[in-house]
Symmetry: D2
Subunit: 436 residues, 4 copies
């Protein structure tokens, strides 16, 4: 976790105090149910909740000090709570094992993190949609291989991003369901010393599903899936970030990250305005992607469990969610305030002397009886001249002067093929597909 790439709401989920609070709630809910079942006195849960109602400060250093002796975090916590609550606390954790608490806590944390990320995605989607509608019909050149291809609209570029993040939202919802399970099944998952109804009770109280079968731990294929989904979302962030970085290149300059008054692009070169936010997002995407690998390696724990996953999760639990939250927020800001330059887009569109219309001429020739191979040859030989003139020559004019072309197409037929609007007749269809 890098402080400058953190936001408070997400970070708070991973604070020790937040973790201890969830631990307490799990223990207290479980004790409550154990009381109902007659396994422990009903007074035990009451004592716990009464203390909790006093809104006690969680003394993290005190708990850490106990752990330094016991070398066991849950026992340290239980010991500290017992010191606060008194004798009734001895009924806590009856028949449970540490992982019942730890894994269910991680489920709560990841579910809460997911909720923030889902909100982030909603805000991002809203920003993209707003800008997409604004530029629904702003013409710009579409590029494949970095080379001018045919016209698109800037709105279409954003609609693509919208559709992609909309899929990411669906994936994240599925990923949230993957990890939002509660396991209170005892030392090796047999419920030998704890009734399954305790698990059901705690799950219900915490808004989780029960884990159908656990083995002291919740199986880590769930978490592998979860962090893989975060990696995919990071990939989609990177895609948009790379797009903005390309658009801001000096020679392209069709869009720019907002540049605030007082900002300095370079300590040495006062003229610089750099796409630093999206470059930064590119690097963050690499990190979030990298966190999927250890999560995938965590699946194959030994027998009913080993604890090798734990140190990994101490890193990637916070790091992946905090960084993704930050990145989504940053990307939303970039999109929201993106400086968009339609005139420059038009200028770039025009710079290739009409080459972007080459396919339409090809099709027209074919439809008027020229073989596909001949048509390709005719268009290509004129296109290459325009290409080599760096757009100073006009494809339309060259075609009008090529007798093999004019044998098949009149000047008017040729001119009709150079109509920009022609390309946008399905934009509304696509928008309906994406935004409805």
């Amino acid at each position: 976790m890098v402080p400058r790439y953190s936001r408070p709401a997400m970070s708070a989920i991973w604070e020790p105090e937040a973790r201890f609070r969830i631990w307490f709630e799990i223990e207290a809910h479980a004790t409550e149910k154990l009381g109902e079942l007659g396994v422990v006195p009903k007074s035990a849960a009451k004592a716990l909740w009464d203390w909790w109602a006093t809104d006690p400060v969680i003394d993290v250093p005190a708990i850490d000090a106990i752990e330094a002796v016991t070398k066991h975090d849950v026992i340290a916590f239980l010991t500290w709570v017992a010191e606060q609550v008194g004798d009734e606390a001895r009924f806590m954790h009856q028949g449970m094992t540490s992982s019942d608490v730890l894994d269910t806590t991680l489920a709560v944390q990841l579910a809460r993190a997911s909720d923030i990320l889902l909100e982030d995605l909603d805000l991002l989607l809203a920003a993209i949609k707003r800008r997409a509608e604004e530029h629904k019909y702003t013409p710009t050149i579409g590029r494949s291989h970095g080379i001018h291809a045919e016209p698109v609209t800037f709105g279409l570029k954003l609609a693509q991003a919208y559709a992609e993040f909309d899929r990411c939202k669906a994936r994240l919802l599925a990923a949230r369901a993957e990890i939002a399970t509660c396991a209170i099944s005892g030392a090796v998952g047999t419920f030998a010393n704890i009734d399954p109804s305790v698990e059901a009770h705690v799950a219900d109280k915490l808004g989780l599903e029960i884990e159908p079968i656990s083995t002291q731990v919740i199986p880590r294929d769930r978490h592998a899936m979860f962090f893989s989904v975060l990696a995919v979302i990071a990939g989609s962030i990177e895609r948009v970030a790379v797009e903005v970085r390309h658009l801001q290149r000096t020679e392209v300059l069709e869009a720019e990250e907002y540049f605030s008054p007082g900002q300095k692009g370079s300590s040495a070169m006062p003229h610089k305005r750099n796409p630093i936010l999206t470059e930064n997002l590119t690097g963050q995407a690499r990190m979030i992607r990298g966190y999927a690998m250890p999560a995938l390696e965590n699946v194959a724990l030994w027998h009913e469990r080993d604890i090798s996953h734990s140190s990994v999760e101490r890193f990637i639990g916070p790091d992946a969610t905090i960084t993704l939250d930050f990145a989504l927020g940053r990307l939303t800001g970039v999109i929201d305030k993106l400086l968009i330059y339609p005139e420059r887009m038009q200028k770039n569109l025009d710079r290739m002397g009409g080459l972007v219309h080459s396919q339409r001429v090809l099709l027209a020739l074919t439809q008027n009886g020229v073989s596909r191979e001949d048509a390709y040859r005719l268009v290509q030989r004129n296109a290459m001249k325009v290409w080599e003139s760096d757009g100073q020559m006009s494809l339309l004019e060259l075609l009008k002067n090529d007798p093999e072309v004019t044998a098949a197409l009149t000047n008017q037929q040729l001119e009709e093929r150079f109509d920009l609007e022609y390309h946008f007749k399905q934009v509304d269809t696509i928008f309906k597909r994406v935004f409805n």
Copy 2:
């Protein structure tokens, strides 16, 4: 792709001929619709399908030879088809771009691969279920950290695997839906030169969904998700493989891979019987996991598309699906024929002098009024003696001779805590959760 880790049905999907067959079908279906729309003569599609009805051999070397000149695979294919079909073929590919064909073909291939993998998972699940029911109540020691914990049944181990692969099946179904889309939207996805109804028609004929918005290519977040799911499944394979490898260790030997007559474990040591199949699966899991990384890097293509994803997919398309298919088949065989040794499981269960029952004694002490801390101390001091005797001492006997213990628990109460069956009372509950 490593031939020895390949099976024919999956490999066939990735053969050049299979790819060309899908290409043809896409082109012919599209031409058909274009004929209906009046864009090309209806006779064009007829000519294509008539030729197709002759069940023509796809002359892969001839197509490759054309590509060697054009350096463009789809144009090479179209040229070859035109040579076969004649003049009417010039209407093929009208208003389409290569990626319309290539990406939709990849969708068909990945969907077919998914179907095989789903069948593989069904067979694996069936094998696991059969063995789980067979050993539903076979006692065995549960281990955390590789250390004896408390009793489980061998059926529970398998039920856990069942639940995990059942989740994998759901994930794979979702992943299949991710990539089973058809895009026929032209050079930059605007449908400028092709009506969206062509896309809908081809999608329908091929059993795909339409891609809501494409940019010459189908967006690669879909494929990143797909290959990530394969990586997660590989992790689950590895988990079971590691379990078997552990169980087959000389000192444990609770189960063994089937060892066929004539098989040799070692060229030097005739006594060896090694878990080579599951070790092999462990390595394959590493590969499939590794293939997710380039798929994730493929998402951020430049602008409307670049072609950097293509070389990656030429590797991982076949390699990840073929290897996973092989691995699932191999794992199914391992489970199906696994030699399971209940006597040895019982022997291992007994080897720790009853330590596995320590928790129950702890709980009993607590319930009879001993503080949790005292109870832990009392049990631990006797347990450590058993531990240090390597199971030669009996925990029950030591407890019966510890006055602080007997002050709280009678001999009979102690003995009741050493009942193995006690641990299995919820096995049926868990089985119902998993297999229903």
Copy 3:
């Protein structure tokens, strides 16, 4: 391994026959030494070498057929050789274990692969050097963040690539030394049944170092290091590939991949000339990078060895070396034939109205007594005007008309700051650092 990304010399290393030939040589050399030591009859090695001198065909299918029964590749091979050579062959493999053969063979293969890759790097370095000298003083704009910064020369760009691949060569030499070791130490590496002098003899004959301590297998940290180095080289390939892709963008077009007669850029758009080779290299780099991960996971084998590394190496041994060989060859071709457009570079240099000289003005102001903060402000306010005019305004003219600037600098002093040659005075110094 993808056939279209393979070259014959590298692929041949990984053919079954090549592997069996190395196996034979190891066994025969070892038998020779065992004969000298009196462990086996001297006639045994003679019989083997006599047969070898007949240049026998290695009957791969026959060996595979035996393996199908024994399920052990080395035993199958030994059995087949015994069938050819006769009774004397029974002395082969005396005191050895399969891994002695397999791991030493992998060492030979990887060392041979390294030799090819080292030649590839030499050819690449030569191509880069030739083009670097050709364009040592060709001015072009340096870009940071994709934004114009200050002038560089095209030769400097290539010199940077040269220095990077020169480092890669040193790394590959070190990596070759890592894996070029011979282990003939028996079943668990104790030399219990084979004298260490056999290992030394075979190592000497095969041009390898002895492995100081092996445990049946050569430790896999060596291979992890080797494949990590290939991944780093792939990263450097990607770097140059991305540079070319950027330079070929329509708006930049300072260089282009060679476009052969007959080549088609797009099936739909005849005007396209796409950087497909470098896009292709980008994807290949992702793959080679991805192969490092399973190699790193291979290190932690169980105890004296498990065989999980083996399936991984069957993939990445060929796939990583073959693909890297292909990629280095392809990159060499790209550099060798790269179309370089100095006029366009100059045009791009000029397009920002002199902004690229802003730093020099800043420094001049500071040296004439203006505070750094004020100087930055003065330059930035004029630079922003040029920026917003898209290079239509001239920074020099604006500065000449800014009284706060002219208070500190005369027109002549200002003009001197806009001298392009000024930037290249250390080019020769840098070239000497890189190429000497």
Copy 4:
């Protein structure tokens, strides 16, 4: 960075104050040389060093506050220093660019981190060597595939670890040299506004090499190599960690992590003693391995540089080095205090009824004229009986009663093949190879 996996010396390198201190030194050394060259007044450096001699507190929040406005960290720092030092400070950073400072600082930090890691490795090597010598001749079973193979000594296991970490040390030394370079070459690396002698001066003062060619930034192939080496070291840590975890398994129990008084293995099961330190190391190894991927992706920056590497390095710079430092320290502690149980090793050695000697019998049969195939069959059929008896039968006794065996070998000859010492005759040879 996870606080509980951090040690102070390494963490201190990455504190903001430490970074600012290096920044200052670079700027002051550069100003000094610029003074010598007459570019700035000599008084400038003097003013800087005079202030520095007062041992000023670096006011991190004040610098951060300035950055919040300028959005540029180096400018913020320079501004703050200027506030402290006064007018002379305006000569700082003359002709330099931020990356000159940032990248050279990273070089200093990574070099310092390397120095700590090299010390860590020395301590680890010393601990391993001590225990290796202690157990040079402690017999234990060697295992391949987790199955008993032939005898080794515990010292040999440790010698293997020693050799591996010795290689890691050599790799780390090489990796340190990779990243310990200084670049002060200006905005695009041309030295246009700063003489190369400044770079040489600063490099010399900071103990770095000059970077032969930089492009504003130090090329990131260096860092990719560096972090890859850390990943390889992590793999070697994991290897030893996995070994210890295996040895501590209940059924094996040949060694144990030290278990301190007061420690609790399980909140539920008082009898547990778990290998939590090495499990923890396994997870940390996964993380350090994972950090290599983004470092490898960082190589292909755009043109002369983009800043996408920066956010990655803010994570992995501290996280990889801090975690590796912690892990090396933890592993050293584990080795140092490892509880080693020779009696249990002997017991395990004996448990297979002499099967571990099967190869020697095989060789003896072969040498007495039995064909290899027959010898294998004879040994295997007796070995399988022992195997199936779970070591209750004795291989020696069975062989003595097999007429086909006794036709070739006398009882005495058979007995000689069951001598444990036989296996250790080369231990000293191997130790000399490793420790000399």
